[in-house]
């Protein structure tokens, strides 16, 4: 089931010089598979992990994740 949280990790990785999922995973202390699951919207990260991802890109957390209203 898809989680009601959208993310812009793919775009942010592209803007960070085509950072790979593996490179992002190494920066935030997670596996590449977990980064892929977060990026695909299959897994909602913890608040700490969300902050780590935002910090890795040097942006605020709201630039990475957005709540999507359920209909």
């Amino acid at each position: 089931m898809a989680v009601p949280i959208a993310n812009h990790i793919r775009r942010l990785r592209f803007e960070a010089g085509e950072m790979t999922q593996g490179e992002l995973a190494a920066k935030i202390g997670m596996t590449r598979q977990t980064v892929a699951a977060i990026e695909a919207g299959k897994y909602s990260p913890s608040l700490e992990a969300a902050f780590r991802i935002a910090h890795a890109f040097g942006v605020g957390i709201d630039e990475v994740f957005q709540w999507v209203e359920e209909r």
């Binding site: 202390g29 977990t34 992990a49």
Partner: protein
């Protein structure tokens, strides 16, 4: 495939092979009219457990050698959550199977049979844990 998913596959396959052979031998000997006594059963069990340990060590070492960085890294939050959910499922399966152990008591099974039923319950719950982990790793969560 992450190292932990490989580990789940390794446990699933090795438990299936080793205890599959163990229970197959028990059933085959029972069907052939030569029921194994406590000592031959114990020898067979020791062989199955030894085989399981050796198979797991060999396959895990091979998996770790192919992905050394991944193998050294601690489990992240998603992996810990997957393990927790899978073990919760395994606990429920084991609880139900342990309760079902009261059924064969009424059919006059021996203490050895009951021990094997209990072992089978443990094996099935372990297989459920591994299968649940693999499904969650495959679908993302």
């Amino acid at each position: 495939m992450s190292f932990r998913e490989k580990s789940a596959w390794i446990t699933l396959v090795s438990v299936l092979v080793c205890f599959g052979i163990y229970f197959w031998e028990l059933v085959a000997s029972h069907a052939g009219g030569r029921r194994l006594g406590p000592l031959p059963s114990l020898h067979l069990l020791l062989l199955a457990v030894s085989g399981l340990v050796l198979l797991q060590i060999a396959l895990t070492a091979f998996a770790a050698a192919t992905t050394p960085k991944d193998a050294r890294a601690p489990a992240d939050e998603r992996e810990r959550l997957i393990q927790w959910r899978a073990h919760t499922l395994g606990y429920h399966v084991l609880t139900v199977l342990a309760l079902l152990l009261f059924v064969p008591i009424h059919f006059g099974h021996s203490a050895l049979d009951m021990a094997n039923f209990a072992l089978l319950a443990g094996v099935i719950s372990t297989l459920c844990v591994c299968a649940a982990q693999i499904v969650m790793y495959r679908r993302g969560f």
